[in-house]
C-alpha cells in the first residue's frame, strides 16, 4: 500500500486524526507508567520472607496480673515447654517480632565503638533462643547456632546486650563491604559501645517492615525478655498448622486465668496484610489499563465507522474503478497505522516525561526501557483490531453506490 495518498487524504481532515493520535498518546503514557509501578510492586510482593510460611503461625500472650519477674520467667519457660511438647510442633520460640509483621525493633550497628561512628547501619533485631533458627526456617551458611547457655534473660527498659549475634548475609555484606572471607568471629558494636561477637551468618531473614529499604538486614540475639507480653512463633510439621492453631491457643488460654491470648495468625495472613497496598495497587492498575484500552479501542472504532460512512460514495467510486476489497481494507488499516505511529511516538515522549516527574515527586523507581516498545506493540495491535471491523464494512460497500446520486 502506498502511504502517500492515505497521508494526503488524512491532511484534509486533520482534527479527527489528531484527536485519536493524542488519545493513543495519553493512553500509552498511562499504560507505561502503570506498568512501571506494577512491576515495582510485584517485585516487592515476590520477595521471600525467609520463613516457612505455609507451616508457621504466631500468637501473643498478655498477662494482666501484678508483674513479677521471677514468676514471668517460670511462665515463659512453661509456655515454651508446653508448646514444644505438642505432637506436630517442629519448633517454637518466644520473640519480639517476625518478618512481615510491620512492627519491631531496630538498632544501629557499627564496626567501631563510640557514639559518633560514621559507618552505623540500621538493622532489625529479633530476640530468640537456640530454637530461633529452626523456627524461622533460617539456613546457616557460616558459623554456628546459639547454644542454650548463651541465651540470657533481660529486663524491659534495661540496656545490656548479649555478647553474641547471628546476622543475615545481606547485613554482613553491608557492614563489612570489603570482607571477602568469613565474618564469623568479627565484632560489631550495638548501642554505641556494646560489643557483639558474630557467631553465625544466615542466608536470609527479612526485617519486620516490608517497605523498608534495609528489609534484608537482620540480626538475631540470644535473649529472652521479662515482659508481661510475649509473642510465640510456632513452626509445625507440614500439614499440622491448621489443626494445631486452635489447639495451642486453647492450651495456653486454659493454662492461666490471668492472661489472654491474642493476635493468633498464620504467616499467610501476615503476608497478605503486609502487602495489601502492593497487591491492591497491582489490581487497581491492571483494571485501569484494561478499561483504558477498551475506551481507546471503542474511540477508534467509533471514529473509523464515521469515516467509513462519510466516505461511502468515494469508496464506491474506488471499487467501481477497480479497487479490490483487500485494497479498501488495507487503506483503512494503513490510515490507522499512521495515526497510531504518530500517537505512539508522542506517547513515548510523554511516558518518559511523566515517569521522570513521578520518580522525582513520589520517589518511584525509573521505568525499564523495554516497557515502552511492549506498550507500543500492544497499542498498535489494539488499534489494528479496532479498525478491522469498520474496514471490512467499508470493503463490502457495493461499487454500484458510485452510480447513485445522493
Amino acid at each position: 500500500m502506498d502511504i502517500g495518498p492515505v497521508w494526503r487524504a488524512m491532511l484534509k481532515n486533520k482534527a479527527g486524526f489528531v484527536l485519536i493520535a493524542l488519545q493513543i498518546a495519553v493512553t500509552m503514557t498511562i499504560m507505561v507508567n502503570a506498568f512501571a509501578i506494577m512491576q515495582e510492586r510485584a517485585n516487592n510482593v515476590g520477595r521471600e520472607s525467609g520463613l516457612d510460611e505455609a507451616n508457621t503461625f504466631a500468637l501473643a500472650s498478655a498477662w494482666f496480673d501484678e508483674f513479677d519477674r521471677d514468676l514471668m520467667k517460670i511462665r515463659i519457660d512453661e509456655d515454651l515447654a508446653l508448646i514444644r511438647g505438642v505432637p506436630g510442633v517442629r519448633s517454637a520460640v518466644a520473640s519480639n517480632s517476625f518478618p512481615l509483621r510491620q512492627g519491631g525493633w531496630s538498632m544501629s550497628l557499627q564496626t567501631e565503638p563510640g557514639s559518633q561512628s560514621p559507618d552505623s547501619i540500621g538493622s532489625a533485631i529479633y530476640f530468640v533462643d537456640e530454637y530461633g533458627l529452626d523456627t524461622f526456617a533460617a539456613t546457616l551458611i557460616d558459623g554456628a547456632n546459639f547454644t542454650p547457655n548463651q541465651v540470657s534473660w533481660q529486663v524491659q527498659n534495661d540496656d545490656t546486650w548479649p555478647a553474641t549475634g547471628i546476622i543475615t548475609e545481606a547485613l554482613a555484606k553491608e557492614i563489612f563491604p570489603d570482607e571477602e572471607g568469613s565474618v564469623v568471629g568479627k565484632t560489631i558494636y550495638i548501642n554505641d559501645n556494646d560489643p557483639v561477637n558474630i557467631i553465625g551468618v544466615i542466608e536470609r531473614m527479612q526485617a519486620p517492615w516490608p517497605g523498608w529499604t534495609g528489609v534484608e538486614r537482620t540480626m538475631l540475639v540470644p535473649q529472652r525478655r521479662y515482659s508481661d507480653f510475649q509473642r510465640y512463633i510456632i513452626r509445625t510439621e507440614p500439614g499440622y498448622r491448621d489443626a494445631l492453631m486452635p489447639e495451642i491457643e486453647a492450651l495456653l488460654a486454659n493454662s492461666s486465668k490471668d492472661r489472654l491470648i491474642r493476635d493468633v495468625t498464620t504467616m499467610e495472613q501476615v503476608r497478605k496484610l503486609a502487602y495489601v497496598g502492593d497487591t491492591a495497587m497491582i489490581r487497581i492498575l491492571t483494571f485501569v489499563v484494561m478499561l483504558l484500552t477498551v475506551i481507546t479501542g471503542l474511540g477508534i472504532v467509533g471514529l473509523a465507522s464515521f469515516n467509513v460512512s462519510r466516505r461511502t460514495r468515494q469508496i464506491g467510486i474506488r471499487r467501481a474503478l477497480g479497487a479490490t476489497k483487500p485494497a479498501i481494507v488495507r487503506y483503512f488499516m494503513t490510515e490507522n497505522l499512521i495515526v497510531s505511529a504518530i500517537g505512539l511516538t508522542i506517547g513515548g515522549i510523554l511516558s518518559v516525561a511523566l515517569n521522570m516527574v513521578m520518580v522525582e515527586a513520589f520517589s518511584l523507581e525509573p521505568l525499564a526501557w523495554y516497557v515502552i516498545p511492549i506498550a507500543m506493540i500492544a497499542l498498535l495491535m489494539v488499534g489494528q483490531a479496532a479498525v478491522a471491523g469498520p474496514a471490512r464494512r467499508a470493503s463490502n460497500i457495493s461499487p454500484a453506490i458510485a452510480t447513485r446520486s445522493s
Binding site: 488519545q23 495497587m281 474511540g299 471514529l303 469515516n307
Partner: protein, 439 residues
C-alpha cells in the same frame, strides 16, 4: 428557544444511540475514576478540628542527638520526652494543654462468662476533651484536680459503653482493667476523627481510643506506650524510673492558645524553656522548637499516602483520554451533519444560535455523563474497598458526601462543555452554501 434546543438536542442524541451511549459512558467512567480517588483523598486529608485550626498547636522540641538530626534535614522529634511533657504541662502557659500516649490494657467485664479483652487506652490530661471538642453523651471528662490526685477515673467511648453497659448511662459505675477498679465519669457520643489528628503515629485512620484515663495515673501504674518510642542515647540505669528520666520520646503534646496572636508568645516560652534546660546539660542541638497547626502537622506527617497522589495523577490522565474520546466523537458527529448545518444557516440561523444549540446538546451529554459518573464513583469506591478489604478501617475512607456528588456532576458538565468547544466551533464555521451546492 431554550426548550426547542433541548428538544433538538435530545433528538440528535437519540438519532445515534450507540454513539451517544459511548460518549456518556466514556465521560462517566472518566469522572468515576477521577472522583473515586478525589473522594478518598478528600477523606484522608480531612481536618476534624478545622474550626480551631489557628488555635491548636502540636508541640515539638529538639532534644535529639547532637551528631544526627531526628529526621533529615533537621526535623525535631515528632513526640516529646516525659521530662518535657510534664514540665510544660505543669507550667500551664497555654490556655489549655494536653499530654498523652496510648497503652494496652486488659478490660475485664463483669460476669462469670465474660472474657477479658485487650484495649488501647489513651492516658491523657483533663484538657484533652475540651481542646478537641470531644462530644459527651453522659457525664463529662475529669478535671485538673483529678489529674493531680491520680484519681482512678475513666471516660468511655459510645461503643465501649455499649459493649460493657449496654449503652445505658454508666456514669458513677465501676469497671475493671488489669485487676484494678476504675470509676466511670463520662461517656462520649459517636466520635471518630478522620484522620486521628492528635496522634498520627502507627495508623491515622484507626479511629480514636475507646477508653481514656488520667495521664498521672498511668505513670504511677508504670504503663508503657503501645505507640512509637525512640531513644537516641542509652538509659541511665534500669527500670521505669530511668525510662521517665531518659531522652526517649513517646508522648504527644498539644496546646490550645486563646488567640492566634498568642503563638509567638508561646514559642518564646518554649525557647526560654529549652535555653534553661541547656544550662542543665540537656538539649545538645541548636534550639529547634516547632508549633504546628493540625493542618500543618498532617501535611508534615504525610497523612495522605503518596500512592493516592500517584493514582490521582493517573486518574486525571484517564479523564483526559475519556475527554479526547468525547471530542473525537462529537467532531465526527458534527462533520456528518454539515449538510444539516449549512441548510439551517442558509435558512437564517445565526452562528450564535447554532453555537448555543450545540453547546446545549453537549451539556445534556455532560449531565448524563455526570449522573452516570456518580454511579461510577460509587462503584469505584466499592472496588477500592474490595481490594483493600484487609484493612478494617477502609470503609471509613470510602464515603461520599454531598460535596463530592456535586463536584462529580460539575466536573462532568465543565469537562464536557470544554470538550464540546472545538467541535461546536467547527459546526458554526460551516458556511451556509458549501454543502448545499453538492446536493
Amino acid at each position: 428557544m431554550f426548550r426547542y434546543y433541548l428538544k433538538l438536542g435530545s433528538l440528535s442524541i437519540r438519532a445515534n444511540p450507540a454513539l451517544s451511549a459511548l460518549m456518556v459512558a466514556a465521560i462517566a467512567i472518566g469522572i468515576g475514576a477521577c472522583m473515586s480517588i478525589v473522594t478518598v483523598r478528600h477523606v484522608m486529608s480531612g481536618n476534624p478540628v478545622a474550626h480551631k485550626n489557628d488555635l491548636l498547636y502540636h508541640v515539638q522540641l529538639d532534644n535529639w542527638n547532637p551528631d544526627d538530626p531526628y529526621e533529615d534535614p533537621n526535623e525535631p522529634p515528632e513526640q516529646v520526652t516525659y521530662l518535657d511533657a510534664t514540665a510544660l504541662h505543669q507550667a500551664g502557659r497555654a490556655f489549655r494543654q494536653t499530654i498523652s500516649f496510648k497503652s494496652d490494657r486488659v478490660v475485664q467485664p463483669e460476669g462469670e462468662d465474660a472474657r477479658p479483652f485487650q484495649e488501647e487506652v489513651r492516658a491523657t490530661t483533663a484538657d484533652f476533651f475540651a481542646m478537641f471538642d470531644v462530644p459527651f453523651e453522659y457525664g463529662s471528662g475529669w478535671d485538673a484536680s483529678a489529674d493531680r490526685a491520680e484519681e482512678r477515673v475513666v471516660v468511655l467511648s459510645a461503643a465501649m459503653n455499649q459493649r460493657l453497659f449496654g449503652g445505658e448511662d454508666s456514669v458513677g459505675r465501676m469497671m475493671t482493667m488489669n485487676k484494678e477498679p476504675y470509676r466511670i465519669v463520662g461517656v462520649l457520643s459517636e466520635w471518630r476523627p478522620m484522620p486521628k489528628f492528635y496522634d498520627l503515629n502507627n495508623n491515622p485512620y484507626e479511629g480514636a481510643e475507646e477508653i481514656y484515663t488520667p495521664f498521672s495515673l498511668a505513670i504511677s501504674g508504670e504503663w508503657g506506650s503501645s505507640g512509637n518510642n525512640s531513644c537516641w542515647k542509652p538509659l541511665d540505669g534500669a527500670g521505669y524510673e530511668a525510662y521517665l528520666a531518659s531522652e526517649c520520646i513517646w508522648i504527644q503534646m498539644w496546646v490550645e492558645l486563646s488567640s492566634a496572636s498568642e503563638r509567638d508568645n508561646y514559642m518564646q516560652f518554649l525557647d526560654d524553656y529549652v535555653e534553661q534546660q541547656k544550662a542543665l546539660g540537656r538539649f545538645p542541638r541548636e534550639v529547634n522548637n516547632r508549633l504546628s497547626t493540625p493542618a500543618e502537622w498532617m501535611v508534615n506527617r504525610e497523612v495522605v499516602d503518596d500512592t493516592v497522589n500517584v493514582l490521582l495523577s493517573l486518574a486525571v490522565l484517564f479523564l483526559v483520554v475519556c475527554l479526547l474520546n468525547t471530542i473525537g466523537l462529537l467532531l465526527a458527529k458534527v462533520m456528518r451533519r454539515t449538510s444539516d448545518i449549512s441548510l439551517r444557516r442558509a435558512l437564517g440561523a445565526s452562528k450564535s444560535a447554532l453555537f448555543t444549540q450545540y453547546l446545549i446538546e453537549a451539556g445534556m451529554v455532560g449531565i448524563a455523563g455526570g449522573l452516570a459518573g456518580i454511579g461510577m464513583t460509587w462503584l469505584g469506591l466499592r472496588g477500592l474497598e474490595n481490594v483493600f478489604s484487609e484493612y478494617d478501617f477502609i470503609s471509613y475512607l470510602m464515603t461520599m458526601d454531598w460535596t463530592m456528588v456535586l463536584y462529580a456532576v460539575l466536573l462532568a458538565i465543565v469537562s464536557t462543555l470544554a470538550a464540546a468547544l472545538y467541535p461546536t466551533w467547527r459546526a458554526c464555521s460551516v458556511s451556509p452554501a458549501t454543502t448545499l451546492r453538492i446536493q
